[in-house]
């Protein structure tokens, strides 16, 4: 993965010089270690600001909806699947995009890294499969596989599904991982235990909506949580309101979520927001054989009707 940065800069500069795109969306170094920021580059001279490492966990597909200009966009596996979803949902046209594909080896969960050291991390170095974090009086090297985000640890689509440029050779896809292991664990519980599991999961939610804002699927001009006429959901910290928010948000992602993990990466409270969407992903996979964003040629299961759609739940 080392070397991606140079390649991204080179491609961005070339696309902008040739006038193929009006801007390139990528990442630049964040002000805090391990938190890279989405960044717009509009001239070849700015291409040097772009970077790539294991802290590009946010999903750049979030920034292309309803744009009118031509955009170059850096996309790892999951971002590319969300671009496919955007194209299918008419949020952007395929010919407006030049997709700079990044074969991905997973992104790092910042909170896992922080938990392994004492003291504040002030700098991070990275090699192919390890990161070295250091701060005042300490320095520690950690294997990347030990601190991957949970969604990356079970990701089986690391290579971009559509791309116009590639910054490196495709990486080997993971096999033998069970993407739905955590869902199965909850499925085995009794209704009461399930209730308590989710009660506990969201008990610290402060309803900052960072998870929603980071989500490429959440592009409604006015989100249901912000609407006041009618008010779909209570705006308080009452556990019932918090649960309603999470349930409804998850339903809005049904059949569309690519499990990119941007929601969890953005959450300041470390809440496993994916526990909701993953259940729907699992259902979509089991009922319709569907994983979102893999191809431009198929309509998502929830926007087509087929006579053999499962309907056991209707009496």
């Amino acid at each position: 993965m080392t070397g991606y940065t140079e390649k991204i800069r080179e491609i961005a500069a070339r696309l902008l010089t040739e006038g193929k795109v009006d801007r390139v969306i990528g990442f630049r170094k964040g002000t805090v270690p391990m938190m890279n920021q989405p960044h717009y580059v509009t001239s070849p001279a700015m291409a040097g600001e772009l970077i790539w490492d294991s802290h590009c966990g946010l999903n750049l597909a979030n920034y292309v909806t309803d744009r009118k200009e031509r955009i170059g966009i850096v996309a790892k596996g999951c971002d590319s699947r969300n671009l496919v979803t955007h194209i299918i949902e008419n949020k952007i046209k395929r010919d407006q995009l030049v997709i700079i594909g990044v074969p991905c080896t997973g992104m790092v969960d910042r909170s896992k890294v922080c938990a392994l050291v004492e003291g504040e991390i002030t700098s991070v170095e990275e090699s192919d499969d390890a990161i070295t974090v250091s701060g005042n009086g300490f320095s520690k090297t950690i294997a990347k596989t030990d601190v991957l985000r949970e969604n990356c640890a079970v990701c089986t689509h690391r290579n971009p599904v559509i791309h116009d440029e590639m910054v490196g050779e495709p990486v080997a896809e993971q096999t033998g991982v069970d993407a739905y292991a955590s869902v199965k664990k909850v499925e085995a519980l009794s209704p009461e235990e399930k209730w308590n599991y989710f009660e506990d999961l969201i008990s610290t939610c402060i309803r900052c909506y960072a998870c929603r804002n980071a989500c490429p699927l959440c592009y409604c001009p006015t989100c249901f949580v912000d609407e006041s006429r009618p008010q779909w959901v209570g705006k308080s910290q009452d556990p019932i309101d918090v649960r309603t928010f999470h349930l409804l948000r998850a339903y809005h992602c049904a059949g569309r979520c690519t499990d990119c993990g941007a929601c969890e990466t953005a959450c300041p409270m470390g809440i496993k927001v994916r526990e909701f969407t993953k259940k729907l992903n699992k259902d979509c996979f089991e009922l319709y054989g569907w994983e979102a964003g893999l191809t431009l040629d198929k309509r998502p299961p929830l926007d087509v009707y087929k006579t053999d759609d499962p309907d056991d739940f209707i009496r």
Binding site: V183, W195, Q237, I240, R243, Y251, K279, F313
Partner: protein, 56 residues
């Protein structure tokens, strides 16, 4: 819809779906009767009901 709600701890048997035409009055009555019976047979569900607003 049903699956995620039940996954998060709404007891099975509380949520029902049916498809009834406006001409099928007898089916409507039937379904409502059955659902009422089935739901009444369960304990009242108090967890997903707001009582006092929580303020803190």
């Amino acid at each position: 819809m049903k699956n995620l709600l039940e996954h998060t701890g709404i007891a099975p048997g509380r949520l029902h779906f049916s498809w009834i035409s406006s001409a099928e009055s007898t089916k409507f009555v039937d379904v409502v009767k059955k659902i009422t019976e089935e739901v009444k047979a369960l304990e009242p569900a108090l967890n997903y009901a707001k009582t006092e607003p929580k303020v803190n």
